[in-house]
Symmetry: none
DNA sequence: TTATCACAGTTGTCTAGTTGTAGATTTATT
DNA sequence: AATAAATCTACAACTAGACAACTGTGATAA
């Protein structure tokens, strides 16, 4: 015995899957859907509530119900490139810069980047989006001595790859990646538009140039819901 | 020798036939009827269940029990016009718009309307009523290129014939009609106020202008109980 | 240009009422 | 005693309406 709200939920799911309502778009209002399906608004709400728990949509009071993009498959391999990864998943990448500063390296940064004591690093913090949907929070440290112009370049282009090239590093490679699971702090949850305490995947990684010299020490917090990391074959 | 619920059913039938509860009106709630007849609610339910199988009333969970009007005779011929048909049956036609959108035509629509690949169509979905009683669910596709203003016109007038005229098609004719029988999905049943799994008559049709150019590809689901389709003589 | 405000539209929440369903129990009929 | 009819109880599912909380937009004023 199927209930009305379930069949409405099924209809909406199939319409979303057929691209009828593309990712990021707004569903018709609850009132319109109620009219269309010939039911009370509460019944539509129950169907939408189901889609919400399935992670297909999210709703904002006063604004509407919006279609969520499906989780991005994010390959971790020898070459990890944000834009390429998101594009390969069929979504549109973008970034937002939250902070950019230069300061003394802390212990972890010195160790990872093989820097002498009291060396300076440029630190960039930002958000990564796929189709307007925040998928990760990142904080990267670069050796300041080697890349004196990096802050300007990052500010202009926002792409690590391009900024590196402008600083003479034509290519770079992932030399280590450590993954752990964490719960989102309130600040992180807010930035990633998750509920506080949502699960995050934390990646701590080092990239190095062709000579093996470390050029970036990065920490990234991926939304566990929206990203599925996978290890690429090293072909 | 007669049971309690049967006599209650008889009483209700005669009251409906005497116009005590006119078509479309709501019966008193089961609780009130139980009170009135001095019986348990379930006994009233059994009587109402009988009226329902007789096609005299229909009930909507949470809303109440409503009196049904009689079925409509619907002629299918060279000129099929909803309003004319229902008026000819002595009832009052009306329509409700459920959805109106423009999108890429799918295969069936492209083929029926003789459109090139990736052509756009306007799609209208709605309900047809005779005397406030839903008799059919329809979904029509129109070539968007030829009728750029159609959505506005349909929204204003809700009459295909009038919208066509406003777009320069003074008259149109049925060029093909295919009929099949289907069972109502839960959503369809709900919209037509039928029980799920009720039989529907599905008509897939194409209308064309005087030059023979297809102008509408329509699918209509008629309630098998409330409509009897008949083929008109082509005089 | 910027800030503020008003307003309509949308989702969130609550209360109350109605029909649908399931099961157990009592009462009437044969 | 057996069986059918009716009762009783309790929820589940849906409707109906009202109001609160919030968003987005456009108008107005500084």
């Amino acid at each position: 015995m199927t209930t009305v709200w379930k069949s409405i939920a099924d209809t909406l799911v199939s319409e979303i899957e057929q691209g009828h309502y593309p990712a990021g778009s707004r569903l018709p209002t609850e009132a319109m859907l109620a009219e269309r399906f010939g039911v009370n608004r509460h019944t539509v709400r129950r169907a939408i509530g189901h889609l919400r728990t399935e992670g297909l949509v999210y709703s904002r009071r006063g604004a509407g119900v919006f279609v969520l993009p499906q989780p991005v498959a994010y390959p971790l391999g020898r070459r990890v490139r944000f834009e390429r990864n998101v594009l390969a998943a069929g979504q549109t990448p973008s970034r937002r810069l939250l902070m950019l500063e230069s300061r003394r390296a802390n212990d972890a940064e010195r160790s990872a980047l093989q820097l002498p004591t009291s060396a300076m690093v440029h630190v960039m913090e930002g958000l990564s989006f796929a189709d307007e949907q925040p998928i990760a929070l990142f904080r990267s440290a670069f050796p300041a001595k080697r890349f004196p112009e990096l802050p300007k370049q990052l500010r202009e282009r926002l792409s690590v790859t391009q900024a590196m090239q402008a600083s003479g590093v034509s290519d770079y490679f992932r030399v280590s990646t450590k993954l752990t699971a964490h719960l989102a702090t309130p600040v992180q949850a807010n930035l990633l538009r998750l509920s506080a305490g949502a699960p995050l995947l934390r990646s701590v990684s080092v990239n190095a140039d062709q000579a093996g010299q470390p050029v970036e020490y990065g920490r990234t917090w991926f939304s566990g819901e929206r990203v599925s990391l996978f290890i690429e074959d090293e072909g």
